[in-house]
Symmetry: C2
Subunit: 649 residues, 2 copies
């Protein structure tokens, strides 16, 4: 790490590799630039308005005024939504310096800070008159989880404006309080072990705040929380197994992610932080192994994780039903958090590949075009059109096939907000050693990267219409005096990619992985990577039972989907059979695929839908070409049915 | 209806058709006889022991002693388990006259009766010192649901021993209390309507008790509960939609079953009772339509209902994943209750077909061979071997792939017990009109049927090894003076059935449906039906996405399953591909099917399980013959993996 103040970025792990600060890449429109703009223009205020309307912000005022009582609006974890919005505002201000964003942030912080107890405890659901006592329900109370998000918000703030800030002070006192209460020998969990929280989140918050404030006590407390877990430490909760809480097997012994997906992934992120900070290679290797097994067998084409609505959880290996895919938006956010940490720790390109897949197909799928409605679950098949959602209505549940303005459990909107506001962080890594600096572009978006390395500033101009087009042109605007190299990610799906290097001239094939641009960069150098985003067919592994006999269409990093509104009149989605022998063609930002429309028999009449003979050659139409759109845009034209995996037989 | 006391049977609807009393068929071993014997010998005491151990029976003692308080063992619906056991004991005693069963019943009734309040209210969870007040949580409290099961137990008793009985008196007072409290203008639900219970069950209990005691007030109260439902009558419960409670659409307007499967089916059963008793043809037609649509599109090959663990509910049309099939045992019991009522009302053979499918493949699947462990959920694919269950351990949840001795929510064991104890009721119907009597055998089991009809007694001897063998021989032991006809069910699956009639001699083909034996029966007549239970292949409808590219094997009424313990060493279930071009052969009580064992590739290495090329022709073994066993016997040889639908490609 350099001695200069580090730019504002969500993860600042010790080691040879750092991500970009949110101010080190200025996006120039494009896919992510537009999402980020909508996020700032619409989503922040949308979230704030809802939390005011529902009284989730006023909960802090009531604690401050001493007027708490048995009736309190919101779930026990609603404080965390306020903190996630604060984190989003902190990144946004760090990126743009916008004083109105800063003013919104400060006003909200004042109300939060007023609710903090003298000893640092800060929670609006527990520990005040008329409310249950502090830490009386570690399994379900979410107190430490909320504190974790408070700390993450403070991490954003300290990295954006420095430690001299009211929220940072609040977080420091809250973290000190947690360290006092949950030190070894502190508050008991079950079985003689000190307590942990049913929902992880405190681990990653403490670890990053420890880094941001150079406070090893916080890192140590994060380590304690990680190590205590997995021994049946939490008091049992009816109908929930210890695996739901990842309290069945210690992190360093677990083979795969299981239980509630967001919990599993937040815990994994915290475990990587602890492993890196304490040089615990065994723990790091355990999480890497869990990542591999879980990605290979428990992850959807979209990058989505969580196959079960029940317990919002991972399923068994190969249990990946498209229609009941839960793929919670927050699990997508959390998966990016884990993969990003592992990328920093290892430099392995596969983590960047999964980040791209998840960002485009889970995170970007959640928000509506106007930034004021969100998907909670992200299934890959919708059988029934969702009901219309009223813009003033709280959605009771993560169902439906339509984006909803707000949810009873509304974790996703603010999680999208903080992720989009800090998107830059994940776009590139910077490494420096005695031989010079290496800048690695991990994600592609039009804009300008400006980083300070030994020897001076490096400025790169990236021109691309990615992912609508696969050509990425990188121009060196300004180069430092010392040696600096450029490395580009060739995604795993880009089998036919080519690269034109400075002083090269002709396109050379480059294999998926990291492509090193030869030589050191000089101002004026230009590199052209062509990733060829032609539509392609993708088949499920033979073990994915629920998608047998189907094929999907992808284009570049985008999963495509067939939506009922694009079908000819009178044709139902279940009648479409895709012809895998005809390559799909480019069509707008999606594809046109060859298909047949088959006639399906009437149901058999009073008996379950299983028949005595094999499905014969159904009467079918001539071949038709049907448009598929990017999955992230589905359900933007009203309630519809949709599928990513289209039967071929 | 005849003037003689009606035999003891669960449903005694007005109309031309009645079922058998539990004493009108004496089973002679065989499939159901053995299950019934184990039920009586082991399951009753097993259930009683568990309910004593957990304090669910003692809850009644505490109410009687006035020692209730905030801590109460069991869920709010645990009383219903005691009542279901009482119902089972009442049927058993009605069938056998066994005085030890009667003594057990009476002792338990004494403890229940002692807990009844002076005004007839009877519940151990609500309405007593230290407990929440009566009917303070209609949505989730299950008070009326529990009362419904109390009434059903009393129905069994009044039909077995007559109305002069302590439990019958308790039930009468409880029913009177309900009628007073929940009359129109009585206790409020939401939106100005009088209340209903979140879990249906009171409707069917009131309706049958009304019939048993000839008390039209009870029928009218059942009607009120049915009609009030579906108008958003229940107070909302967090994260549960009104459809969960069937409170979204009135019964007579609903198109399909939805929400919690057991609730939907108990409600439908009560609605049929109300429709028949009040000659409400519109309501009856509505339930018949719901049955048809739900069976055709939301029911598994096993007859199982409920595709989702989440909310224990029905899924969308065609949403029938084998691996996450919930198919709760209680939903199987409830489905039989509905279909039986519709069969009595309509005489349509399709209801008897579904009853057979459900009895053999859901109800019979639940209990272990020793009658002391049970499946709660009945999935058609098990991906991971279940964990071993300890015989002294309460299973927290309906997961696992192993039968558990008892559950935290333990509705299934006692539901199995009461169904097996009254199995006879569903085996035949009797119709009488001016032209004579018709006895219809709807289910086949070795034993002797003896019914009194106009003109005297008819005694039929049934000899069969069904379902291991398809030959059913019916001999007339004793015939009445008047005309009496015999009708036999030819199941829908029995495409090649033949019938040898009295005075016929040669087997004649008979089509699926009702086969009428010509002429009136005389003593000495013999009829031989051959249903040909050779193994056969069954394909999922093309709309059942989750089973595309697979085939199942059935044999007679039995669904078969491939279980990992029957595979050659080193072969995993996911490697098996069944060859549908080779007919499976008889093998023990199952089948031997031709298959290949394919080699599956290693997972792709750090990327989700979707690949760029179609699954090529995998290296595979020579053809092998693999044994499939009846699904109802799976997991009896230790934890295993299993599948009913085996891939062909």
């Amino acid at each position: 790490m350099t001695a200069t103040p580090s730019p504002a970025r969500p993860v600042d792990a010790p080691g040879p590799r750092r991500g970009l600060g949110v101010g080190e890449l200025m996006l120039d429109g494009g896919f992510w630039g537009r999402l980020q703009e909508t996020n700032a223009r619409a989503t922040f205020q949308h979230c704030l308005d809802w939390m005011e309307r529902l009284g989730w912000v006023a909960n802090f005022d009531r604690v401050a005024a001493g007027t708490t009582g048995p009736d309190r609006p919101g779930w026990q974890f609603s404080d965390s939504e306020v903190y996630k919005l604060l984190e989003a505002l902190a990144w946004e201000h760090g990126r743009t310096g916008d004083p109105t964003v800063d003013a919104t942030f400060r006003k909200l912080v004042d109300r939060v800070a007023a609710a903090q107890d003298d000893d640092g405890y800060l929670n609006t659901c527990f520990g005040h008159p008329g409310r249950p006592g502090r830490y009386t329900d570690l399994s379900s109370g979410h107190e430490l989880y909320c504190t974790g998000h408070l700390l993450q918000a403070a991490v954003a703030r300290v990295r954006a404006v420095g430690p001299d800030d009211r929220l940072v002070e609040v977080a420091r006192r809250a973290a000190d309080h947690v360290c006092r209460e949950f030190r070894d020998g502190g508050r008991d969990g079950t079985r003689g072990r000190a307590g942990i929280c049913g929902h992880p989140g405190i681990e990653v918050g403490l670890a990053e705040l420890g880094r941001a404030l150079d406070e090893p006590r916080y890192t140590e407390q994060a380590r304690l929380f990680v190590e205590r877990r997995g021994h049946g430490t939490l008091a049992p909760v009816a109908l929930l197994s210890p695996a739901y809480f990842q309290d069945d097997v210690p992190v360093r012994e677990a083979d795969v992610w299981r239980g509630h997906a967001v919990r599993a992934l937040y815990l994994a992120a915290g475990a990587v932080d602890v492993a890196v900070d304490t040089r615990d290679d065994e723990l790091l290797a355990a999480v890497e192994h869990q990542w591999t097994r879980s990605v290979e067998r428990r992850t959807y084409l979209s990058g989505g994780m969580g196959s079960r609505h029940q317990d919002e959880g991972f399923g068994d290996d190969w249990e990946l039903p498209p229609d009941r895919a839960y793929c919670e938006t927050c699990a997508g956010v959390a998966s990016v958090m884990v993969s990003w940490r592992l990328l920093l720790a290892s430099g392995d390109v596969r983590y960047a590949d999964l980040i791209e897949r998840t960002l485009f197909n889970v995170v970007a799928t959640s928000p509506a075009a106007d930034g004021r409605a969100f998907f909670y679950a992200n299934p890959l098949q919708q059988r029934e059109p969702g009901a219309d959602v009223r813009p003033d209505e709280v959605n009771p549940r993560a169902e439906g096939g339509v984006r909803a303005p707000w949810f009873d459990v509304s974790c996703c909107p603010t999680n999208v907000a903080r992720t989009l506001a800090s998107w830059q962080a994940y776009a590139a890594t910077v490494e420096e050693d005695a031989g010079g600096a290496t800048v690695t572009l991990a994600q592609y978006a039009a804009g300008e990267v400006r980083v300070d390395v030994a020897g001076g500033a490096l400025t790169l101009r990236v021109d691309t219409a990615y992912p609508a087009d696969g050509v990425v042109r990188v121009t060196v605007v300004e180069a430092p005096a010392g040696p600096v190299r450029l490395r580009l990610r060739v995604p795993r799906w880009a089998a036919d990619a080519t690269l034109v290097c400075p002083r090269g001239g002709t396109p050379e094939p480059v294999a998926p992985g990291w492509a090193d641009v030869p030589g050191t960069l000089r101002a004026g150098d230009a590199v052209t990577l062509d990733l060829r985003v032609a539509p392609r067919l993708t088949w499920p592994d033979a073990r994915v039972d629920a998608a047998r006999g189907t094929v999907a269409v992808e284009r570049g990093p985008l999963v495509l989907a067939l939506e009922s509104v694009d079908l000819p009149d009178g044709v139902a989605l279940e009648q479409v059979r895709l012809d895998p022998d005809v390559a799909p063609r480019v069509h707008g930002d999606g594809a046109l695929a060859r298909a047949r429309v088959v006639a399906l028999p009437e149901p058999a009449g009073g008996t379950p839908p299983y028949v005595a003979g094999p499905p014969g050659p159904a009467a079918s139409s001539d071949a038709v070409d049907l448009p598929l759109i990017p999955y992230h845009r589905w359900a933007e034209r009203g309630p519809s049915t949709m599928r990513v995996f289209v039967p071929t037989v």
